[in-house]
């Protein structure tokens, strides 16, 4: 039995299903993350308060973090392996290839958008999770009498730099591409197909991908429009 379970775990289908389920978990995280981020519109107190509440979770936060890191690693490692196998399986290349499906820029670029998102995640963690939340970068000029605004201030100042906002927005557009295929595709991988509901799942998945991307992008845009936060 043990050996048959091992073959199952090595099967192309089960490995893809792991990519699908870890992807779904990360979509769940993105929804929670964006909901929290929206508190930036409510001002520093609400935003920093939310961040503090998360940190006060202590060990629970670490369980969630480790779960998320495991999901990310599983997703990335398996997706890279599967893509490598797919390239090998192709054999010779066609001199002419002419898609008759819907072509699908997003489908073909999943591995590239995925890798770019991974790079973004590393930079993003350095930017807003790892960096000190009390020093100079957290003081928004001309607000709060020159006192630190904590994480809120750090985020605000970062987004006031055009290159920083620009890269962030670019990363979120790439995320939107990745999710626009990813969300609807994961249902097929876990075996969900229904004549009536699958077209709906596709539409909702696509809409969710756009909503998430637009939601995240709205934050740097808001910061750059408002420029001085209301306390």
């Amino acid at each position: 039995m043990a050996s048959s379970n091992r073959t199952l775990l090595q099967s192309s289908i089960v490995r893809k299903q792991i990519v699908a389920v870890t992807g779904l978990a990360m979509v769940g995280f993105l929804i929670a993350h964006l909901s929290g981020n929206f508190l930036i519109f409510a001002g520093p107190e609400a935003f920093n308060g939310y961040s503090k509440k998360l940190h006060d979770l202590g060990p629970i936060l670490w369980v969630l973090r480790i779960g998320l890191i495991a999901a990310l690693l599983g997703h990335v490692v398996l997706a890279i392996k599967l893509t490598g196998e797919n390239h090998a399986a192709r054999g010779g290349r066609y001199a002419v290839s002419n898609s008759r499906g819907d072509g699908g820029f997003c489908k073909k670029t999943m591995i590239y958008t995925g890798i770019l998102i991974l790079v973004f995640v590393a930079l993003h963690l350095y930017d807003f999770t790892y960096r000190d939340k009390t020093g100079d970068p957290t003081i928004v000029e001309g607000v709060n009498g020159g006192l630190s605004l904590g994480l809120f201030g750090l985020v605000w100042n970062s987004f006031l730099q055009p290159w920083h906002s620009g890269l962030y927005i670019l990363a979120m557009i790439i995320l939107g591409f990745h999710l626009s295929h990813g969300i609807q595709s994961l249902f097929q991988s876990i075996g969900f197909f229904h004549d009536r509901y699958t077209p709906m799942v596709k539409k909702i998945g696509f809409a969710l991908a756009i909503l998430l991307a637009v939601g995240f992008i709205s934050i740097p845009i808001y910061v750059n429009v408002v420029r001085t936060p209301h306390l």
Binding site: L8, I13, V14, A89, G91, G104
Partner: protein
């Protein structure tokens, strides 16, 4: 009304799997538009033979879209430009006078080239041997109403059973994945009462044989469904994904 057209063919020529291949250019003159694509190749081959050249090797048998032997990629599309059509059913009236057609074999690591456009699809046979059957004693056929089958299951099993195993799904898939073929074969039995006793073992064995043949993984591009001459639905792929999870949970 039939007319005559002239075409230029760029055909993949490869003596065997160990030798590398290349494209050769041949004229196809005075082609009757009522001909099928394979008849056009016959005409070109006659000319090649007259010139003492080696005719283009291609697979075919029934020439009426039911055996699954024929197949090649024409201008980047498996079985050519028409939907739900095998290359033997494709008519030359589909092409315009003066066109250039690039004709290539199915390209997949799991389908080694035998010669020119003919590829070795015995990987499919090995997947079937791994579990694409039911083990029953033969004898007199049972009465049709002896085993009740819901209409919907019967229809879906019939749709899956329409697969002729031509390999266009593998050829069209960017990953050379055989998921559409294997899932059709898994589905046609999983949907029917006769397939139940071996249901779990079947999907596990067939998928593991599919993997070891060197086919790629499905990444939900759905080029297979769009290229399938029998319009097999990717619904079957979702079903196979489900079947495998089910087998795993029950093992």
């Amino acid at each position: 009304m039939s007319k005559k057209i002239n075409l230029t063919l760029k055909v993949w020529r490869q003596p065997d799997n160990r030798t590398s291949g290349r494209f050769e250019v041949y004229p196809a003159q005075d082609i009757d538009t009522d001909m099928s694509f394979l008849e056009m190749l016959d005409v070109v081959n006659d000319e090649l033979e007259k010139e003492g050249k080696d005719p283009i090797a291609f697979d075919h048998d029934c020439r009426e879209g039911i055996c699954g032997m024929c197949g090649c990629v024409i201008n980047g599309q498996a079985h050519g430009p028409d939907a739900a059509t095998t290359v033997c059913q494709l008519h030359m009236r589909r092409f315009q006078d003066g066109m250039t057609l690039v004709i290539e074999p199915w390209r997949a690591k799991a389908f080694p080239i035998i010669k020119d456009l003919a590829v070795d699809r015995s990987a499919f046979d090995r997947v079937i041997s791994a579990g694409g059957y039911i083990s029953v004693r033969t004898g007199a056929a049972p009465d049709a109403h002896a085993v009740p089958v819901p209409k919907d299951s019967a229809d879906q099993a019939m749709d899956a059973a329409a697969c002729i195993g031509c390999g266009a799904c593998v050829a069209a898939c960017p990953n050379a994945s055989a998921m559409l073929f294997v899932s059709a074969k898994v589905s046609q039995l999983a949907l029917l009462p006769q397939g139940q006793p071996e249901r779990d073992q079947r999907v596990v064995s067939m998928v593991s044989q599919m993997d070891s043949e060197g086919f790629g993984n499905c990444s939900n591009h759905y080029e297979c469904e769009a290229s399938c001459p029998k319009e097999i639905s990717i619904k079957n792929i979702a079903r196979m994904n489900r079947e495998l999870t089910r087998a795993g949970v029950r093992s």
